[in-house]
Symmetry: C2
Subunit: 275 residues, 2 copies
Amino acid sequence: MTEGQTTNRRRITGFSNETVKAIRSLRDKKHRKASGRFLAEGLRLLTDARASGHLPETLVLSDTRDPHPLLAELESAIRAAGGAVIETTPDILAKITGKDNPQGVAGVFAELDTALTRIDRAAAPIWLVAQALRDPGNLGTMLRTADAVGAGGLILVDDCADPFSAEAVRASMGAVFTQRIARASWEEFLHWLRAGEGQLVAASLRDAISYREAPYTAPCFILVGNESRGLPGDYETAADLRVTMPMKGRADSLNAAVAAAVLAYEVLAALEKEI
Amino acid sequence: MTEGQTTNRRRITGFSNETVKAIRSLRDKKHRKASGRFLAEGLRLLTDARASGHLPETLVLSDTRDPHPLLAELESAIRAAGGAVIETTPDILAKITGKDNPQGVAGVFAELDTALTRIDRAAAPIWLVAQALRDPGNLGTMLRTADAVGAGGLILVDDCADPFSAEAVRASMGAVFTQRIARASWEEFLHWLRAGEGQLVAASLRDAISYREAPYTAPCFILVGNESRGLPGDYETAADLRVTMPMKGRADSLNAAVAAAVLAYEVLAALEKEI
C-alpha cells in the first residue's frame, strides 16, 4: 500500500507529534477518563474486538510489522467506517504502548458503555461481580474467565481498577470486548439486583456452605471481594448464598480471580446439570 | 530497643552501603542465582515463613515501622539463630524492595532446595506442574492455590519464571515457604514421574475428556502449559489423562493459574469423594 493512497491514512515519525502524545496519554487513567478512549494492542485483540462489533477509531501500525491478511481486513474495515490509520516507527509505537516489544499494531477505542441499568441480566446465566478489586491483571483475568464460562459480564462495585487500562485489556485476552462491563456503587448494584431476578452468591468464610453443594440458580451473580480485605461483612450478609471453598493449607484465601473462576466453573456445572 | 543492644543488630543509613547494595541486587535474577538468596517483604509473609520453619538470614527493618508483637518475636528468633538485624530508613527499604510503600520489614532468605529428586510424592495427593510458565504473578498464584488445595508443591518444567522473584514471592502469599518447589527439564520430570506412582493430568483441548468426569487418582500431577503457547503436543500425549474445561465464549483458553486452580479444585473434590 503506498503513501497517500487514502485520505485517512498518514505517517507520523515525530515523538513530539500531538497525535502521538494524545494516544500515549491513554496509558494514564486520568486521560482515558477525560477523552473517553482507551488503547488495545496486538492483532489478536483487535481482531477479537472487530468480531465483537468494536472497531478502533484509530489504528496505529508499526512500519516494521509483518503483513497479515487479518490486518489488511481490519484496516479496510476501519477506513470504511471513517476511522484513521497511522503508520509510524516501532520506537514511537513502543512509546505509545509502553512495551518493549510491541506487536506492531494498536488501536484507539471509544470507551464502552458501563451503565449498570443497560445490562440485560436475562442474557446470561452467570455474572461476575467484583468489589473494590485493585489489581488490573486480576480484573482482566476475571473478564477472560467470564467469557470462558459463558457469563454475561463483570460488574465492578465500589472503587475498582480501571477495566480499560492496558494491563486489564491485555489480561482479558479480548474479553473486554465480548463481556458487558458495568460500574456501580454497592447501593446502586443492590438496588438494581433486587429489582429483578438474580441470586447473589458471595465467596465467604462467614456462615458459609460448601461451594460444591450450594443450590445455585440462574441468573447467578458471583461476588468476590478486595484482594487484601475480602468483602465487607454487610455485603456478605446481603448475599443469598455464602459459599466457601476448601482451604487445606496455611492460607485462608485464594487470589480473587482464582476464587471467582473456581466458583464460576462450579456454578456453570451445577446449572448445566439442572437442565 | 536501643542502639547496640546486640552485636548482630546495626543501623545503616547510607544508600551506597555495600550491604544495602547486596540486598537490593536480589531484585535481579542473576544476583539471586549468584548469591543463592532471595527477598521476602512484609510481616505476614515473614511470619508465615517462620511458621513453616524458614527464618531469614537477615532482617531489614524500617525505623518508621509500627511496633508489633509478631515482629518482636521474629527478631528474637532471628537473633537466637545467629541472623543479622538491620535497621534503616524507609527510603532505603523502599530502594531495596523497589516498592513505594514498603511494609516496614523485609527478610533475606537462603534459596530453598529445588531438587526434584528430594520430593516425596506420597506426601500429598495433588501436585501442580507448570511448563514454561513465564509470568511470576501466575507462578506465585499457583503456589497460593497449591497451598489451598493441600497440594505438595509446584514442579517447574523447562524454562519458567523465577519462583524467588519479588513478584512471585508476593503473589504466593507465603506459599513459597509452605509448598515444595522443584525445577526440572521435561525429560528429568518424566523420568522421575514414571519411576513411581503418579497420574499425569494435562489441561488440553486435544483428544480430551471433560474435567468433571475424569478418573483422577492420587498422587495426581496437574500439568498446565505456557501462557501463550500452551503445552507442546508431545507433552500432552505423554499425559495419562487429557482433560478439558468448557469454553463457552470466544476464547479457547484460560489464564494458566486459573486453569490450574479450576482443575486442582476438581481433583480435590474427586479424590475426597473416593475416600
